[in-house]
């Protein structure tokens, strides 16, 4: 058999996880046998062209998909994308406006290099450090004192946390899908915790990348399309040599490739200014030499770490989602159903006729005859003497005679019926209570009634044998079974004689 290569399967993302969780939750309501049969059929079809457990689960999910519209997971993913786009737009806006503010030059006060470095390098490095703290594995929360609280606080300040606040801007269908995804994550917090963390970090880094991208582009635009003068001024104890040392350290990443992008000590000295001493007095065109250094700082310490973190967080998010995808409650059972042989032993479909709940037998008492003729039916092992005793005790009647029946041929039964009809004494048929009444016996009763005619009492006594030679009318379940079954004969002169309190007692649960 030649196996055909399957088309590449989509990567596991939020939509796949949400759709899988929804499909598994829906399946939980179905009969396990139905599920096993359905999934095994699919599993066998997939077995030839899809390799790998996760790929099979993904293919199963694709096969389960119904309807042409977007699935719940796709809507949740779209919602997430819309929210992230809004976050990116906010980052672009904030980055651009921050750059316009920091790089503002009114012709009097130059752009303060210290301010640029503080906003786009120092602060960003602090935020990157915070992101690294947030990225630490969950297991460290228990081992490092205070880490859990610190992570909680940093998470509160993370831009990714703003996403739920923006959900009100979504269309209703996407908002519902987003809320359902959130509810799913809350229900399985243990499972989704890691994926949520990385999702939050991806959103935060998207904001960071857009912020820094916009700031860099805006700053570059200002450099190209306007004249900027740069100077540096600080109250802190920092002289030109100190700043030069810091600048050289900061420029290390590009010092070999772009040596001109490192501010010289002369430039640093010439561009220091004090507002109290008359403001900026340096050479504005010469001070513009700072721009390459500053833009490279923004790119290297602002944008690049964010891009790296975004890449890392995206990779971890995919891994976390894949882990959720493969460990969701029900996935192991699903894989079992897909991969294991379906073994079934039960009948398919319900038994015909539906369950019948037997009713209580109708109490019935016919006039007791003074003399009866007993029939030992189907080999009931009661002696003649015991029959006479039983008839006297249970029926208050005299025994006219005892005959046997129900053990021979159909001809013998017919002879018995004729004999009883000719004898004239009403018959009392003694049966084994522990054996159920058969149609064969009902046939006999019908034939007897026909031979005896209407009005002649016909008694049936299901016997119980509590001791060696003791016989008495049975009670309990056996007697009720006989009484119920003979009710079906609809013979008003037929009575099933049982122990007192048997007929009419309703014991069904």
């Amino acid at each position: 058999m030649t196996s055909t290569s399957s088309p590449p399967l989509p990567r596991v993302d939020l939509s796949r996880v949400v759709d899988l969780a929804a499909a598994l939750e829906a399946d939980a309501q179905l009969d396990p046998e139905t599920l096993r049969r359905r999934d095994r059929t699919l599993g066998r079809a997939l077995g030839e062209r899809v390799e790998g457990a996760t790929a099979r689960v993904e293919a199963w999910l694709d096969a389960r998909r119904t309807g042409a519209g977007p699935s719940s997971g796709e809507r949740a993913l779209r919602a997430q994308r819309v929210l992230r786009t809004l976050l990116v737009l906010a980052g672009l806006l904030l980055g651009s406006s921050t750059a316009l503010t920091v790089f503002a030059y009114d012709g009097v006060h130059p752009v303060n290099v210290v301010q640029v470095l503080a906003v786009f390098v120092a602060l960003q490095l602090a935020l990157v450090a915070a992101t690294v703290v947030l990225s630490l594995p969950e297991s460290w929360r228990r081992r490092v004192p205070g880490l859990a609280a610190l992570q909680d606080v940093l998470r509160l300040a993370s831009p990714g946390r703003w996403l739920p606040a923006l959900r009100g801007l979504l269309p209703p269908a996407q908002r519902d899908a987003f809320d359902r995804a959130g509810a799913l994550a809350r229900r399985h917090q243990r499972l989704y915790g890691n994926a949520q963390k990385w999702s939050l970090l991806v959103a935060s880094q998207l904001f960071g990348v857009s912020f820094h991208g916009a700031a860099l582009v805006t700053a570059a635009g200002l450099v190209v399309f306007s004249d900027l003068a740069f100077g540096w001024s600080t109250t802190l104890h920092l002289d030109a040599q100190g700043l030069a040392r810091w600048a050289q350290r900061l420029a290390l990443p590009w010092s070999h490739a772009l040596p001109d992008a490192i501010p010289s000590l002369d430039l640093i000295r010439q561009t220091q200014y004090f507002r109290g001493a008359g403001g900026f007095s340096g050479d504005a065109p010469r001070s513009a030499a700072w721009w390459r250094f500053l833009l490279l700082c923004m790119a290297c310490y602002g944008l690049a770490p964010r891009l790296a973190l975004l890449t890392f967080a995206s990779w971890r998010q995919r891994a976390a989602l894949r882990r959720v995808f493969t460990t969701l409650p029900g996935v192991a059972d699903l894989r079992d159903r897909l991969e294991s042989r379906w073994v079934a032993t039960a009948a398919s479909g319900a038994e015909a006729g539906g369950p019948s709940r037997p009713g209580a037998p109708r109490p019935r008492r016919v006039a007791r005859p003074a003399r009866v003729r007993a029939v030992r039916w189907s080999g009931v092992p009661i002696a003649d003497g015991a029959v006479a005793e039983l008839v006297a005790d249970a029926l208050g009647a005299e025994l006219a005679g005892v005959v046997d029946g129900g053990a021979g041929s159909g001809r013998a039964d017919a002879d018995l019926v004729a004999e009883l009809a000719a004898a004239g004494d009403p018959p009392v048929v003694l049966v084994k209570s522990w054996e159920p009444p058969l149609y064969e016996f009902l046939d006999l009763l019908g034939e007897l009634r026909e031979a005896l005619g209407e009005g002649t009492p016909l008694l049936v006594v299901p016997l119980a044998n509590p001791g060696e030679d003791r016989w008495e009318p049975a009670g309990g379940a056996h007697a009720r079974t006989w009484a119920r079954r003979l009710d079906a004969a609809a013979d008003p002169w037929l009575e099933v004689v049982t122990a007192p309190e048997t007929v009419g007692a309703e014991t069904e649960g």
Partner: protein, 475 residues
């Protein structure tokens, strides 16, 4: 005849034919009732592996007019070699009439090639009225086996064995209401003795059933792992007004917590029963008894979604940022003292004001309050109590025949505590580690399922389940 081993389960009404089918087919939807004639038509129970039928069991109505049917056959008998032809003529003549509907229904699959499984009740005396039906079956010439099903005792098993041996080459005793899984497999293997050609497919079927049983254990282990993971971290909470006395709400919250645990347990019980093919067990089980003293804790909640710990951490962080600004202002001369002092003051301030904040109201809306929390159960013994109950239930379900329709009463059985005591110390240590991790919020469901798998399999071993504690089904 298709070559697929097929077995017609036949006999007198109410002798446990359907019970045997129910247990062998592991199907508790088979109707079993004390009323004769509950089975009104033949019903097939094919054993399939990936849709390929390995063998078929057929439940049949009981003989109702065996004597008269045999009388008809004897009337048409020519010689012993034509017995089967006479039975075929009987069915052909009476099929579709009201004269012998049950006999025609039960003989049809036999005449199509099914083996005969004749069922007798070993708890009731043998009688000559059974001989007509056994004689008819003998006339069919099909391979046959007799099963003595001691429905309510074994008083007459030997009497039956002696009688049945005159009609059937193989006679076995099989209690459909308490047969273990191994006993069921053994009986299926025994069916192979009826026909050499059936031996191989039946062996394949038995191997597949045994393999499936291993997967059933794995499914059960996953179900129990899911239960334990959920109950170990289960918490019920109630938000209270800032001045409310938590003690007043403890009893009701504890009840809610217990009810939720109970419901989760019930779901797991139902899932385990469904895994074993029991879809309609009536279960009687008490709730979890806990002697835990420290189930409750209180905290504050705040309008903006923080708890007290987060509020204090936020205060400390804010203070540290402000202090850091001062440190920066003095060029680091303060040796980060500003950050440290700021964090301490911020944290302390947040702690001190948290209670006041919780009592504040803005536009008549409370800004916070007290949060009463019940659970999770912290006792080291708690997961073992839950596990012990679950393993006990599993053993009872795994050992329960599908014909058994009695209530499943899970009472205070002394064996139950032994489930944990009997556990291998190494496994116990591994469970301790996993339970600790789960309590710390780690995802260890798969590891827990793997650790529980041998324990579950052990619970399904012969003799693991006690049969006491069943209450007869109401009739």
């Amino acid at each position: 005849m298709t070559g697929i081993p097929t077995f017609a389960v036949v006999g007198h009404p109410n002798k446990g034919k359907s019970s045997i089918v129910s247990t062998l087919a592991q199907d508790d939807s088979v109707r079993i009732a004390p009323e004769p004639g509950t089975t009104t038509e033949c019903r097939a129970y094919p054993m399939r592996i990936d849709d390929e039928v390995q063998y078929v069991l057929i439940d049949t109505p009981g003989f109702q007019r065996a004597r008269r049917a045999l009388e008809w056959m004897r009337g048409h008998e020519t010689h012993a070699g034509a017995h089967r032809a006479v039975v075929e003529s009987f069915v052909a003549e009476h099929r579709g009439t009201n004269r012998f509907p049950d006999e025609c229904a039960l003989l049809a699959p036999i005449l199509d090639g099914a083996g005969i499984l004749y069922v007798a009740d070993g708890s009731l005396p043998y009688g000559p009225e059974f001989e007509a039906e056994m004689e008819i079956l003998r006339w069919t010439g099909q391979p046959s086996l007799a099963l003595i099903n001691p429905i309510s005792g074994t008083d007459h098993v030997e009497e039956w064995r002696a009688a049945l041996q005159q009609y059937f080459k193989i006679v076995r005793v099989f209690d459909a209401h308490s047969a273990s899984f191994e006993a069921r497999l053994e009986l299926l293997r025994g069916f192979g003795q009826l026909n050499e050609a059936w031996r191989e497919p039946l062996e394949a079927a038995v191997a597949a059933l045994a393999e499936e049983r291993d997967r059933v254990h794995a499914r059960t282990a996953r179900t129990l792992a899911g239960l334990l993971c959920d109950v170990l971290v289960h918490v019920s909470t109630r938000r209270l007004a800032p001045d409310a006395d938590p003690a007043l709400y403890q009893t009701s919250l504890e009840q809610t917590w217990k009810d939720e645990l109970r419901e989760r347990e019930r779901r797991a019980r139902r899932d385990v029963e469904r895994i074993y093919g029991h879809r309609s067990i009536e279960r009687v089980e008490g709730g979890i008894e806990l002697l835990e003293q420290d189930l409750f804790s209180t905290d504050h909640w705040f309008f903006w979604g923080l708890d007290r710990r987060q509020l204090i951490a936020s205060g400390a962080a804010g203070g540290a940022v402000l202090g850091g600004a001062i440190d920066a202002g003095v060029g680091g001369a303060s040796l980060l003292l500003g950050s440290l002092v700021g964090a301490a003051l911020g944290g302390a301030g947040a702690w001190w004001t948290s209670t006041r904040l919780a009592r504040m109201r803005v536009l008549q809306l409370p800004m916070g309050g007290r949060l009463l929390r019940c659970g999770p159960a912290s006792s080291a013994n708690f997961p073992y109590v839950v596990l012990g109950r679950a393993l006990y239930h599993h053993a009872r379900v795994a050992g329960r025949a599908h014909a058994d329709r009695s209530e499943l009463v899970l009472g205070d059985d002394p064996d139950r505590a032994n489930w944990i005591e009997r556990m291998d110390p190494g496994r116990r240590r591994e469970l301790d580690r996993i339970f600790r991790d789960i309590r710390a919020g780690e995802e260890r469901t798969a590891d827990l399922a793997e650790c529980l798998l041998p324990v579950v399999a052990e619970g399904d071993a012969p003799g693991a389940a006690r049969t006491s504690g069943s209450r007869p089904a109401p009739r």
